[in-house]
């Protein structure tokens, strides 16, 4: 009887947690909808910042993949138990770009401004171009490189795409600002955007 009570308590706990998450932060999907420009700016800059954070994490994993340097949280299947190969990073950057950047930009919706749809499309195009370029790199080098030169080329390919993407990302945000003063105000007034723009591409 006591076990039954515990099971019931756990199930109720999960239901309550799910309900609380739904109530306080179930996420806002504004895909295709018009939203306030300030909210849109916060959302797109937050999304771009999170994506950049994922790239920083990937860089850190590569930098610290030697036995002595890598951290271990203690999980027996912990990723840090493995050696991280640069080649394996490319699919992860594609996933990050698709799942975080593209999905986040779409969910941010369309800013309530004269050129709102154009602004959303400029940022989306930047994300799609980044993803497409990474997919091209992945297709070319998805198999284990047979020569040293091919191996280095695969590293260079992904690095070049991400480097160019960072520059193009900044350019895209500037282009959006130039579309409409309302958008420029929204971007300049967003804390997320000001933090994002501090990062050098």
């Amino acid at each position: 009887m006591r076990t039954l009570g515990l099971v019931a308590a756990i199930v109720i706990g999960i239901i309550v947690l799910t309900g609380v998450v739904a109530a306080v932060g179930s996420g806002s999907d504004n895909t295709g909808e018009t939203v306030r420009a300030s909210q849109w700016a916060d959302d797109v800059c937050g999304t771009a910042g999170t994506w950049q954070g994922e790239l920083k994490d990937l860089r850190k994993e590569i930098n610290e993949s030697t036995y002595g340097a890598r951290d271990n949280d203690g999980g027996s299947g912990d990723v840090v138990e493995h050696v991280v190969f640069v080649r394996s990073i490319v699919p992860r950057t594609i996933a990050a770009t698709h799942d975080t950047l593209l999905r986040g930009l779409d969910r941010a919706g369309i800013p309530d401004a004269n050129q709102g749809k154009q602004a959303a499309l400029i940022l989306r195009n930047w994300a799609v171009q980044t993803q497409n370029a990474l997919v091209v790199v992945h297709r070319a080098y998805r198999h284990r490189p047979k020569t040293t030169s091919t191996a280095f080329a695969s590293i260079a390919g992904a690095a070049t795409v991400l480097g160019q993407s960072a520059v193009k990302g900044h350019a895209a945000f500037k282009q959006v600002s130039a579309l409409d003063p309302a958008l420029a105000d929204a971007i300049n007034g967003s804390r997320n955007c000001s933090d994002l723009m501090k990062e050098q591409p």
Partner: protein
Amino acid sequence: MKKILLVAITALVLATAGFAGGSIFENGVSSAAQLASSVDSTSTKSTAATATAAPVEEAPPPDSTSSSDWALIAIEGLVVIGFIALGVRSGGIGLGLWGGVGTLILVFVFGLEPGTPPFDAMLIIVAVISAAAAMEAAGGVEFMVQVASKALRAKPKAINFAAPYVSYLLCILTGTSNTFYSIIPVINEVSYANKIRPERPLAGSTVASAVGITSSPVAAAMATILPLVEVYHYELTDVLLITIPASLIGIFVMCLVMSRHGAELEHDAVYQARIASGEVQPPAPAVEVELKPYAKRSVAIFLTAVFVICLFGFFDGLRPTVMGEDGGLEPLSVTPIIQMVMLTAAAMILLFAHVKAGDVPGMPIFRSGMVAMIALFGIAWMADTFIANNEDAIVSALGDLASRWPFMIAIAVFLVAALTTSQSAATRTMIPLGLALGIGAGYMIAIWPAVMGVLFLPANGTQIAAAEADQTGTTTLGKHVVDHSFQLPLQICWIVTALAGIAIVAIFGL
């Protein structure tokens, strides 16, 4: 009644997995396509002076999982679960041996690439049991038990609360639950000597060490989450202000439940059977124990080693630097430091506590530690072989689940951690997804302790070591894979911690 718990949890997992798996077969209209087409149709009408951008077509992401792939993944998953079940029923090194058979089948029958055995955890177990067994040979364990028993005389059950908080603190200081191995023998011996059911403090402490990861400023998972939330103005202090109080509350509730969980030791059927068969000796009254001459010295050396590990873990400036992959210098990781310091402690105990090296392997702690290592070797290798080959598909399915129903994000984080047995993997894959879904960064941080879901399956080193250390048989890895001793404290702790974190964020506006 355990069967009810088993059925309820299994049903929940299968329902969620089926939900996630099924949803990816559906051909929903892409939200991106909607936006692109809406922009496309209107952009031609735009009269703005600015140049109009044309939508760029999205290339299909590589390696999408087909329905036949999913069937194969499901069969492989059943093989893994089946061999874990065989292993836990067999017990002892049987867990590792059946894990090895499972790995063989996954590689030769299903053609998977072999995963990586958990070398770090295995080597830490070897190093820690060397030191702990040397201390036991010197009589140090008896001394520690005596001291702890005196301290606990008024309230022996306080170990049910003290042990989890100590293991939580150790994990915070060192950034890895690998430190927990060093106190497993101590918790077991102290609780047994005080006739406390060892399952209570051992299972609670194992879970507390896992939740400690999200409260530690030096953990790998913390280093992973910080770049993801910094754009939302959450620094390390902000994260800790949410996770530490929430974890303290979660651990307290867990301890409260665990302190009343299960039969008292003298009424436990399995324990009584072991006593009757002579497999385990009843605890000797503390007054009857005559200490060996260098017992205190061995304890001092052992505890100094634990303290030194904490120092190195918390202050990375004390650590020597090693070469990183990019040619830069990085502080030496805590993992090899634990191994080096514990092996050194063992050597110092041999030297200064006058223990014969030949006596150490004969100690019960050494035997149970070696069994734990072999068990971990096979079972974690099999799990990793499955995960390494299917991680992208698993994460993608659960990510899809969260995308469709963002309120399921906490459960998705928990399940990703459970199926990858990695806090870092769950953090790096699910936290950005939640943020991209528009869930506030504060709430995502509150939900983040769900990564303690790594303990959902009995495939972690700390679980196996704790179960093997407990000779009374109360701490078990279960008979049906999910009905292990750690399940109840795990479920209580993650749910309460997440709810407390959400409340902290909502109330204090963090």
